[in-house]
Symmetry: C2
Subunit: 96 residues, 2 copies
Amino acid sequence: MELLITYDVDTTTADGRRRLRHVAKACEAYGIRVQKSVFEVVCRDADWVLMKQRLLDIIDPEQDSIRVYVLQRGTFVSAEHIGQSPPAPHDEPLIY
Amino acid sequence: MELLITYDVDTTTADGRRRLRHVAKACEAYGIRVQKSVFEVVCRDADWVLMKQRLLDIIDPEQDSIRVYVLQRGTFVSAEHIGQSPPAPHDEPLIY
């Protein structure tokens, strides 16, 4: 499955900044960062179950938000990038 | 068409903060903000042509980046939201 994960984590506190680092780390374990708080993940359903639990354990649901879009295969490759540092196109899983 | 628009605008300068406000305003004219720099847009192809030009006129391509995902109809409604302030689900155009 192709997932687009975007998140807003409150960074006004030290704990928020810690959560931000951990959310990014969790996403990096499964996908590719394409913008500061936007990750493209190609994974199996089971991986998403694990990843979601990990994210739930990290965030403060009162302060932070994560959005997950389940995309049709090929959406990443056809995404349009305007401006600096376009990531390399990919549509293969990073984890095997 | 359903578009997911995500952006990173450099906010370390006053000009960057101005660009950020203008990018957000351009996106608000066509869609719904679901996170700080994530917008969901339901529009016609012609609207996207106008919107894209407006965004191109605003950003500094050396500093900022915008990603645009063309999504299958219904992706917004099935998006998963974890944490605070979930936006109202929508899949109708805001502009007529």
